[in-house]
Symmetry: C2
Subunit: 552 residues, 2 copies
């Protein structure tokens, strides 16, 4: 059996792992990654699945653990070249179908809704869906069995003994499989640096109740992750308890509610939801607005409210705004910006103790390891520091260090029933999605964008008579994102730069045979050298310098 992570390790997002045995490959999850700061202009990153494309005849299907973007977001793109059946639980599949619909791919995709406890046969593999808890309903762990043995992939999970919807994680099944013998455990490492247990989602409901009681005289606005259906359920519950009408703002929040309610994952009593336009019909203190934007996303509903650009909701001293979320690393400043704006408008802002994580902390991880008793431990889902932290936990639990594998994307881990070893590497990587363009923006484009962002560009254009190689027009200097902004501005430094440029160009033309298209590069280099050293000497800047030579 081969385990080949094609994404998701040593990074946040883009979870996708291939399992291979004989002529069968199954793929667990197919997520996207959000772009890093330095990936200018990129919308999202999807995994390079060359390995799957090259072995397309073996690939039996995608098995999806839950409906978060970092586990399903790349499906519409990847299904174009790897069009195999998709297996997922009910809500997960409903969310996938929404996504496929946007890309007009519902019809062309073979979809199978699975239930917990169900086992599907995929070539040489059988895969069982095991109930877990997470910050989205219908999350599953997978028991993946082939002739070499059983491997458990936890997906993203937490241990919640008192979940809001449905059952607690099926610990008994983990124990049963552990009894039968588990070859390897791929376990969620996100919170493996955090001591203790992750608290139940239900504790958040209690916190929300308390806030509704304390702020009974004001309107309440709660921002949270759209996909957290249980959170929405608890806000609705509190609203009903305290006689508030509920307004839902933000497209993704509306979408998830429209998806989850018909499936029975979310129960909203009649006469609870009201349209935002009808808000004014109710006393402010009898309303609550559930909204997107808890991460300070600039286009989300909460940010527009904070900016005063939301068309329907105006924030004022009568408002209490709750961030029912923790900042995702990298979003701290954006969130603080939104908090500052809300406070300036006079709102009360609550941003502590109204959230719990959806991932297992150290004691939860120990529980799963202890039930499963895997022969090999493979920490997954996290940056290196998180994987390493889980490896430490595995060691504390007595798993010998040569049975703990911290893999990198593309590593091939080979297991028989007894032994495991690293054996080779497949191509992996991130493919940039930029508008409609998939994979066309590469590292040289990004490198240029970085340079343009930091220093701007200076363009020098001139025309030569081709036959004679003498100047017909120019050189003209134009810049964007550089200190001398506009062509038509009078600037003595710019004039000096132009004089230096003209002299260098004239010297080069006089001393170089440019006839019949010869020596164009020499002229280009002259322009780059002259302006490059001029700008560095005068203002310690290195803009991109782009000479354009037209031949007449």
């Amino acid at each position: 059996m081969k385990i080949i992570p094609l994404g998701g390790l040593e990074q946040i997002g883009m979870n996708i792992t291939a399992f291979e045995y004989g002529d069968s490959i199954i793929v667990v999850d197919c997520g996207l990654a959000f772009p890093e700061d330095e990936m200018f202009g990129i919308d999202m990153v999807i995994p390079d699945v060359t390995y799957l494309e090259e072995n397309i005849d073996k690939v039996k299907g995608f098995v999806i653990t839950h409906g978060h973007e970092d586990h399903i977001g790349a499906l519409p793109y990847i299904l174009r070249s790897v069009n195999v059946p998709v297996y997922a639980t009910r809500l997960t599949m409903a969310i996938i179908e929404n996504k496929l619909e946007e890309h007009k791919q519902v019809e062309s995709t073979d979809r199978h809704v699975c239930t917990f406890g169900q086992t599907i046969e995929l070539g040489d593999f059988s895969v069982e869906f095991i109930k877990t808890n997470h910050s989205i309903v219908d999350a599953a762990a997978l028991a993946i069995t082939c002739a070499a043995g059983t491997v458990i992939h936890t997906g993203d999970f937490k241990v919640d003994y008192t979940p809001v919807f449905g059952d607690a994680i099926d610990l008994a099944r983990f124990a049963e499989l552990g009894e039968q013998g588990v070859l390897a455990l791929l376990c969620d490492s996100t919170n493996s640096e955090e001591p203790g247990f992750t608290e139940s989602e239900r504790t958040v409901g209690t916190a929300i109740d308390r806030i509704f009681e304390q702020y009974s005289g004001t309107r309440v606005i709660i921002a949270t992750f759209a996909s957290n259906v249980d959170r929405v359920q608890q806000i609705v519950n509190s609203a009903c308890k305290y006689g508030r009408k509920v307004v839902v703002e933000g497209r993704s929040m509306v979408n998830i509610i429209e998806t989850a309610e018909p499936l029975g994952c979310l129960k909203i009593p009649d006469n609870t939801l009201v349209n935002v336009d009808d808000l004014k019909l109710y006393p402010e203190a009898k309303t609550v607005i559930i909204t997107t934007g808890s991460q300070g996303e600039s286009m989300a509903a909460l940010s527009r409210m904070a900016d005063g650009t939301h068309k329907k909701v105006t924030i004022g001293p009568g408002d209490t705004v709750i961030f029912s979320s923790d900042p995702i690393p990298g979003n701290e400043k954006a969130i603080t910006g939104v908090i500052n704006k809300l406070l300036k408008k006079g709102a009360e802002v609550i941003f502590q103790d109204v959230h719990v994580s959806g991932h297992p902390k150290q004691e939860d991880v120990k529980l799963i390891y202890t039930l499963v008793r895997p022969r090999f431990a493979i920490p997954v889902h996290g940056e290196y520091r998180h994987l390493k932290a889980q490896a430490k936990i595995a060691a504390e639990l007595g798993i010998p260090s040569d049975r703990v594998f911290i893999l990198r994307n593309g590593d091939i881990l080979e297991l028989d029933g007894e032994n495991a070893r690293m054996n080779g590497h497949v191509q992996t990587g991130g493919v940039f999605v930029d508008g409609f363009s998939v994979g066309e923006v590469g590292s040289s484009v990004l490198h240029d964008r970085q340079k343009l962002a930091d220093e701007g560009i200076v363009i020098v254009s001139l025309a030569l008579y081709y036959d004679e190689g003498i100047l017909a027009a120019g050189p003209e200097m134009t810049s964007r994102g550089f200190i001398y902004e506009k062509l038509d501005e009078v600037d003595e430094n710019k004039a000096e730069a132009e004089a230096a440029l003209r002299e260098a160009v004239m010297d080069c033309i006089a001393s170089t045979d440019l006839s019949n298209g010869q020596n164009r590069n020499r002229l280009r280099n002259t322009i780059k050298d002259c302006l490059g050293s001029y700008f560095w000497k005068r203002i310690k800047r290195r803009p991109m310098i782009l000479p354009i030579i037209l031949d007449i």
Copy 2:
């Protein structure tokens, strides 16, 4: 008396406040701000001091509270136009002088070293330096007195009963001034959202001792803020206690030690410091390296060690790396990147509980307010959320809300002995420093850089015969940071775009009188419209399109 914050409010950094009475203005601090993410290519931001320049005859001096960049960093730039005497305590002045030396401004600046308890006369003002504690030695609060009364500016401070160097904060003097009557208190708000007390710097020494004991078999590398001389002192103390030699890495760390030691602010026993080149002469477990880079700064010594590009220090399994620092908001991802790299090299990494803040938490703030009993409260040093949090504390302490002022930069707060009111506004703002250029990069340049970073640039150049207005050469399409990267690459989409461009240009030339330089803008707009709509339709992107027309 007028209090006019020229920077530092509703932002992090760039602290500068003017106090005006009659014909006298004094200025407290003159800091810089580090650029925000969207300020592409900007090195730093300094305050707009137009108000000081316009009232230069009144300005009696800069009084500096302590030696951090956000309080002194703009001095070399501002002194060029506002060349007045500078007053500061010993270490603060030494750091300022280092800075002035870099700018060759030592000789041209009138400098006065002040001691705690000393009162200086500046026009209609007298200013007393009061001993405080902070994450840098020699920090001072200021009691600023004029005929209208006494105002206390705390500067950045903490209450440390057991400081590492020098005395505890002079609480008795705060109490005495409180007895005599204080008109207004400008108090540090940085940690006003945090409950409890800020712990003593000395607790960090205990933590470092414990780590040295636990990791007695490995080399220790500690990253911290260069300016925290007390922290360096405690690391040196632990090193001596456990018989380790100390190496100092990172230019700013070396600088501060060379500045602090001759003043007696830092005591390093003989035979403790060794040169990095001599590291190999000692067993690894008998060495400690103090380094910069605790915020993940890409060029700092620790980042170079993590990258494997540091010339003298190679990280391996025998190393324990300590982050003696908290992440400054916005730096989380960079720090995590460094931690991941260090762990991959096999080092042990410790990043919790080896740091304390230099700013007062809620109970410390209450202590100062209670001692000073100000008539008016003016929270300073922080974003709006922090100022607001301190305003809440002031309210809890019984200060009526009409005596609490949350000011914005540029606000003029007028106080007599009895009343306070907002009365007008002066010009303020951030001036961008970009290399040697101060104030030349404005918002339009930054806007262009943003656009270039997100979408790249497409340049279309062509040459026209001036008299006839007919095409001589081109149109040629060149791009940078856009999908079609290189001119010489064969790309069918690019070819299609070029064909569309050529057709539009030809149509325009045929239908427009371009002779004698006419209608150049029409041709430019044709190019922009044609390519703009082509790219949007085909790939949903809007690159910057720059037409360049050369006239022959």
